[in-house]
Amino acid sequence: MITVKNVSKSFEGFMALSDLEMNVKKGSIYGLVGTNGAGKTTVIKHIAGVYKENQGLIQIEGEPVYDNSFIKERIGYVPDDLYFFGSYSLKEMGRFYKGIYPNWSQERFDAMVARFGLNPNQKLTRFSKGMQKQATFILTMSTRPDYLILDEPIDGLDPIIRKLVWKYIVDDVAEREMTVLVSSHNLREMENICDAIGIISGGKMVIERDLDELRSDIHKVQLAFSDKEKAEGELESLNILHREHRGSVELLIIRNRKDEVEALMEKVKPVIFDMLPLTLEEIFIYELGGADDEIQGIIF
């Protein structure tokens, strides 16, 4: 369980996080999404214990994270910006990790290095960028963390390796109830793997929900009526977030339960009625694209 409570952080007067709230349940795969500069990496660095908050509380299992080595040795953190000691090979780096992390599994490390097909004797700095990311992932997963924190882990990896990375992650979630916090811009992939989603913007949490719940109460609806005047009044009872006309067809984004919408349509009898759940990508753009009709016009 990761708890972030009223956390604020500023860098030389720039408010990176303001009053941020976030809750990640044990055993969950939590997707953190947001526009560039929204504060994703900053939150992640707080939770990983790299930054200290100016204000608020960051706890894992009720304990503060910063400067807490008991908690930190149970966290696996794969940052977006990787750093390696100049002359270390993957094998030597493994030995270094082994000395720090008590849950280190040499067996798993050897198996993963073979599976990913990396040369353990090559210097890490001579690896390609994607290979460095794989190496960090292998090292991190070999510490058998209870909390895995990944900052844009899959961006830049090929589809075969991505699948392999996710497979290792879901196996550990199923087997040992590992908790995963992952940030990414690949919303389709997040949608398929996460069970909870946090959308942040301007250093604040905009929406934090169970993914299936989030998707079940926001819909895209296309409507056309033979008697538009009459139907208009009935539509007012819906919670309409966005509306536009495309010829005689109305396109609505509404936040209502599916059965509520269907019951109403039963009454107003549109000649065209088509309802689709929104994808995470559409929810993201709707929530963060703001009132900018031009952006929304492109998407919906």
Partner: protein, 129 residues
Amino acid sequence: MFQLDSKSRKSIYEQVVDNIKEMILSKVLRADEKLPSVRDLSGTLTINPNTVQKAYKELERLGYVYSMTGLGTFVSKIEEGQIDEVLLLNGKQQMKNSIRELYYAGLRRDEIMDIIQEILDTRERGGAK
């Protein structure tokens, strides 16, 4: 076991529930057969184990499967003629849409009835073999 459609607008959760339901109704999975464990299924499909868990719970609630502590999840005996409310509702909705389109196409009531009759006849003949 089955494939997921990553392009579908249906959530992974719904896809898992629907796929297993279909396999049970079409008797690909037989009564008392064991479903793959949460871990196995999430591993093979590379999906969130919590989603699989939730799907299994929903299938149990709907009466398609039963679980035995420590042993796993098994397919229930589906009685002949047992009707799934959700399936019925969806089917009705789809029929309504199709019939509406036939009306727009200018067909009369008896012509539409003929079409339905024909579809049913073909289906029953096919099923009798």
